[in-house]
Every structure is written in structure tokens, then in C-alpha cells.
């Protein structure tokens, strides 16, 4: 039960998904499976919420380090839940979209969630700067190539590249930095990305096959089987 059933489920569903690609009458079944997946995906969100609650309640109960902040997490969680799940403060009532303009959910989203998430992401701008100062160094041949390519693209992506090299005549125009940047993107970048894409594509294909055939079972948590 614990091991065999999951392997059979993976096999059956995987096969349906593969063969419906080639056999048109199976398409309906594939669609239904996809819809099932979408529903289960929502339960996974609930699982995430449940886990979060469990961890922070535990932290509170055991008075672990920084337990005070767990109150903040749980507070935010329940307020958002009330606003979202119960649609409290939604002017349109139960039938309206949860993100109706002016609803409590949309307000919390705009004034709390949005600044938090986008500032977290904006930290990247700083880290890019410090990484370029600290880490992008011509340590060896490979690093030098990376650096030069990065430099040309950086220059070519701003109006500055044109300002610097715009004087180069048309018959040598590939030497203008913006054109050089476009050329790098269209030729070597494309080649490298395609090589990576083919390699990873094959990796995904063989992994999928191993999962469907039950050869790969790490996701079930038992190494021995």
C-alpha cells in the first residue's frame, strides 16, 4: 500500500499523459487529469499554510529563539486569511472576485504584500553591484571571456553604446557596440542556450521516464526500494 500504489498511480497517469499526446480520443481523459491536478494544487497551498501554522505554533509553545516574531507571522496569516478566504471587507460580497478593487485583500496586497515582495526582489540591484565589484574578475581565460561578453552587452543595452561608437561607418557597422550586442545575442548566446536547452531537455525526458516507470523513487522518501 505504502509503496506499490503510488508507483502504480504514477505509471498510469504518466502513460495517459504521454499517449493522449498521440491518440486524439484520449485527449478528454488528459484534460480531466489536468483539471484534477489543478484542484490538488490548491490543496498543496493549504498544506503550505498548515505547515507554516504548525511550525510557528510549535515555536511559540517551546519558546524557541525569536518566538516573538512567530506571533507576527501568525497574525499576518490570520488577518490575510480572514480578508481572503472569508472575503471580509469585499464590497462585492461572496460572488465578487476576491481581488475586487477596494476589498481588504486587495488593500493588504497593495500596501503590505507588494512593498515587501518587490523590495525583497529589489535587493538584487545592490547584490548585482557588489558582485560585479567583487566577483566579476578576469581570473582565467573562461572568466575573461565571460567578462568581455558581459561588458559588450552592458554597453550595447544602453544608449551609451551608440554614443561611443556611432561614428563607425556603415561598412564596419558590426563594430558598433549595439550591433555587436545584437550579434552576440543572436549567435553565440543562441548557440550556448540551445546546447544547454537540448541537454536539459534530454535530462527532463529521461527523468520523466524513470519516474513513470518507477525506476526513480526518491520522491517517495525511500532510498532502499
Amino acid at each position: 500500500m505504502k509503496r506499490q500504489v503510488p508507483i502504480i498511480i504514477t505509471f498510469l497517469i504518466g502513460m495517459i499523459m504521454i499517449f493522449s499526446f498521440f491518440i486524439p480520443p484520449l485527449e478528454g481523459l488528459e484534460q480531466t487529469c489536468s483539471l484534477f491536478f489543478d484542484v490538488i494544487a490548491v490543496f498543496a497551498f493549504f498544506l503550505g499554510g498548515g505547515n507554516l501554522m504548525r511550525i510557528h505554533v510549535n515555536k511559540l509553545r517551546r519558546r524557541k529563539k525569536d518566538w516573538g516574531f512567530s506571533i507576527v507571522t501568525l497574525g499576518g496569516f490570520f488577518i490575510m486569511l480572514a480578508a481572503g478566504l472569508l472575503k471580509i471587507g469585499n464590497p462585492g460580497g461572496i460572488a465578487a472576485s476576491p481581488t475586487t478593487e477596494g476589498s481588504l485583500l486587495q488593500e493588504i496586497f497593495t500596501y503590505v504584500f507588494l512593498p515587501l515582495q518587490s523590495t525583497m526582489y529589489a535587493l538584487l540591484a545592490f547584490f548585482v553591484a557588489s558582485a560585479s565589484y567583487r566577483a566579476f574578475r578576469a581570473k582565467n581565460r573562461e572568466a575573461t571571456i565571460l567578462l568581455i561578453a558581459a561588458f559588450v552587452i552592458l554597453l550595447g543595452r544602453t544608449p551609451f553604446g551608440m554614443l561611443l561608437t556611432g561614428w563607425i561607418p556603415e561598412s564596419f557597422s558590426v563594430l558598433q557596440v549595439p550591433n555587436m550586442a545584437i550579434w552576440i545575442m543572436n549567435s553565440p548566446n543562441l548557440a550556448g542556450q540551445r546546447a544547454i536547452m537540448i541537454g536539459i531537455g534530454l535530462g527532463v525526458i529521461s527523468m520523466s521516464l524513470r519516474l513513470i516507470l518507477g525506476i526513480e523513487r526518491t520522491y517517495l522518501g525511500d532510498e532502499s526500494a
Binding site: L35, D38, A41, S97, T99, T100, F136, F151, Q193
Partner: protein, 317 residues
Amino acid sequence: MLDAAFSIPLVALSDIGRVISLMFIGAGLLWILIRSLRAKEVDRRIVFLFIFIAVAAPILFPITFQERATLIVRKVFDKVESLPAGSKVLLAFDFDPAMAPEVQPMADAISRHCLTKGHNVIFMTLWATGQALLTQSLERVVKGEFPENRDGVDYINLGFKAGNENVLNIIVTDFRMMFPTDVNGVPLDSTSIFDDVRSCKDLDLIISIGGGKPGVKEWVLYVGDRVNVPMGAGVAAVVAPQLYPYYPKQLLGLLGGVKGAAEYESELVRQYPHLEERGTPGLRMMGPQTLAHMVIMAFIVIGNISFFISRRRERKR
């Protein structure tokens, strides 16, 4: 290097703020360079401060540049432009607030373009956080700028559904199975925009705007390659290079990052000058971008100079 290079636009700009901030940045970089030459560590917080100033200064004292659309961007523009009015265009807002500063300008520009051309636009998103952003965009761009357009006739908002790729896998053959109603609970059958649309096959153009997963790649894999509907994309700069292998066969064009948005906006404004007053955030963002790029390039150069100096010193020992 920086001051000399900026002397060209500076002649025309008399704003003192700009001059002072540029001088400040230039002097600061010089100071970092000198410190690096003496092989002294520069604290990363100073680096952070510099990038903050380099971005903040041009926001306070705007610097603007002209842009010209590159081929890969123009192809998306031309496609939207060449479709007859009333064509069905699907715009997928697959991004969250974190990515929004980067891709919202192109989402707005493409929405404006489609509505100006009179296309029927279907909005949707695969990101839960995208729906809240979509609500904001619709309020601002669609309802704010095109009040004559009717919901369900000229445009429709389908909103978010959970399931990532599986959502795409269903709408590729049947919209109604996945979206029985639009975001406001209106059944699709009662909207005229969906009269002729059963699946993605019936669309004339799909433009996915995103930058993460699920995003443009999933659209290509699950929809674009399956139904042969022309697909355009607008993405955060970080994923643009890895989508190049799909261009031009699997994606007709690609807008990468704010520069892509700025190029699209410049093309849009050239074609429809009255849209300029609606705002060109992409073009405006190019000022801070340029300055920050210069600072980052300076950092790379300084970092390498100090690296070579310290290496030479080590060798001497």
C-alpha cells in the same frame, strides 16, 4: 571616464541637481578606485550606497534618451499592428509584484496598443499574485484610458487559476472547461468576446508577459508549439537570453526587460503620437538604467584593476 562620457548630454542639461549628483558619483568612483589601487578593501555597504544614488539621482532629475526598436521587438509590434481590428488577442500577465517594475511597462504598452487597434483582448494569469496586479492594470489602463470599451465585448479578464502548466494544457483545447466564468463570475457563454473562441486555436495572437515559471517557456511548450497560433513574448531581462533559441520559429518576437519596453513604447508613440501623454514608463526608466549601468561597468573595471594589481604584488613576492 564617466564625466567625460556624460559631457555630451550635459551641455544641454542645465539642471544643477544632475550636475551635482553626477559629480558626486564620479568623485565617489574615483575614491573607490584610489582605495582599490592601494589594495584596501571597500566595504560592500559603500557599493550599495553608490548604486542607490546612481538610481535615485536620475529619478529625481530625469535624463531621457531616444530609442529605436530592434528587429526582435519590432516583430511583435508589427504583428499587433497588422492584425485587423476585432482580432482576438490573449495577454497573459504571468508575473508578481516583484517582477512588475520590469514587465509592467511592456504589459501596459501592449495592452494600450491592442485596445487602440480595436482588438478584443483576453487577459489572464497563471500567478495568484498576478490577478491582483491585473485588477490594478485594468483599472488604470483599460477602464481608465479606454472607458468606451465594454467588459465581455472588447476585453475580458479571466483572472487566475491554480495548476500552472495544467491550466495551459486545458485551455489549449477548451477554455470553458478551465474558465466556466470570468473573474467576476460572468459565464463565458454570455460574453460576446467568447462567441467564436473555444480554445487557443481560435486566437489570432498570444502574448505572454512574464519572467518566471510558469511563464513564456511553458506557453511555448504547452500552447504555442501545439496550436500554431503566433506567439509573442515580453519577459524580464533575466530570462530573455534563454528564450532566444525559440526565436523566430517558436516565438515571433521578444521584448526583453525595460529596454524592450522602451523600444516598444518608442515605436508606439511614433505610430500613435497621442499615446505619449498616457506615459512612457519604459523610456523614462532608461535614464536611471543608463547611469546604473555605467556605475556597474565602472565597478567591474575597478574590481579588475585592483585584482591585477594585487596579483602583480603577489608575484613580486
